[in-house]
Point group: C2
Chain length 173, copies 2
């Protein structure tokens, strides 16, 4: 993952071949594809564990939909390490510069939203309310992530504030 981010940053995503990433990491193409399902995924590693955290967060939360979403964001915070923060800006820049990567990013976020909705449905939330809460949650996640990259600190706290802002804006629509 480090080799890939460095290469994408140095010479661009499109100008980098998977074989080259593997070579720099001291591996082969075969091994690369055993760890990542495609060329893009190397920039999104570990995001699948987040789904489990989302489910756990929502299952252990209070009754109100946005409260469940808040619990999900807080539960995700354990994965937002200092190393992730250090590489975050370069990673975001690479993603922003390529359509395939923006596509993958959008799918990941949609996956988060879907997981939130499913978990809330299991807790008896009405579908419309769950969808609205999840979309607001994803927006807060994006905004919180950007802010966390800038100012650092505890991600849970930053995300909580971002969600509160979003909620306030949504209420006076």
């Amino acid at each position: 993952m480090r080799a890939a981010l460095d290469l994408f940053d140095e010479q661009g995503y499109e100008n980098t071949a998977v074989a080259q990433i593997a070579e720099r990491a001291g591996l082969t193409k075969s091994t690369y594809f055993r760890h990542f399902r495609d060329k893009r995924e190397v920039l999104f590693g570990g995001q699948d564990e987040l789904l489990g955290l989302i489910v756990a967060g929502i299952e252990g939360a209070q009754a109100e939909p946005l409260g469940m979403v808040e619990a999900a964001l807080v539960a995700m915070a354990v994965t937002f390490s200092e190393e992730r923060r250090a590489n975050g800006p370069r990673r975001l820049a690479v993603i922003a510069g390529n359509d395939e990567l923006r596509e993958r990013d959008a799918l990941k976020m949609a996956g988060f939203a879907r997981t939130m909705v499913d978990s809330m449905l299991r807790r008896g939330v009405a579908e419309l309310d769950a969808q609205v809460a999840a979309e607001l949650g994803i927006l807060a996640l994006r905004r919180g992530y950007a802010q966390w990259l800038e100012v650092g600190g505890d991600f849970a706290e930053v995300a909580r504030r971002a969600l509160e802002e979003v909620r306030a804006a949504a209420r006076e629509c």
Copy 2:
């Protein structure tokens, strides 16, 4: 586009080669890639014109953010033809069954949202309010589209109702 949808429906997206689509349409692979930038795009043809409709809708709308979004949805309605409605369910089924296609769909929706936000910013809406309104708008677009496929009728009307439902849910978050 018809050839592609038929083939995807008959034998699955992954089992269909671009050359095969081209052949059924009486063309060659070369010509295919002059009309669609990749294999997926054939299922999303014409969505790029929607961006212009969104911009126009928001520029000609009243002052409130969700009112602008409503105008955007109404402006998009002109492209929701009977033929699109007839093919809609098959198209949705194919997309739902493949990750690459869900990815492209997510990107398209994100593009709509981004265009809405940019247009609203140009009209002086605060960024947070614009983002919230756009996300709610995309959710209403999805829900409205699904409902329109079921019951038919004027898409503008269906979308307007969907947005009103979403707005009501958002207000009591």
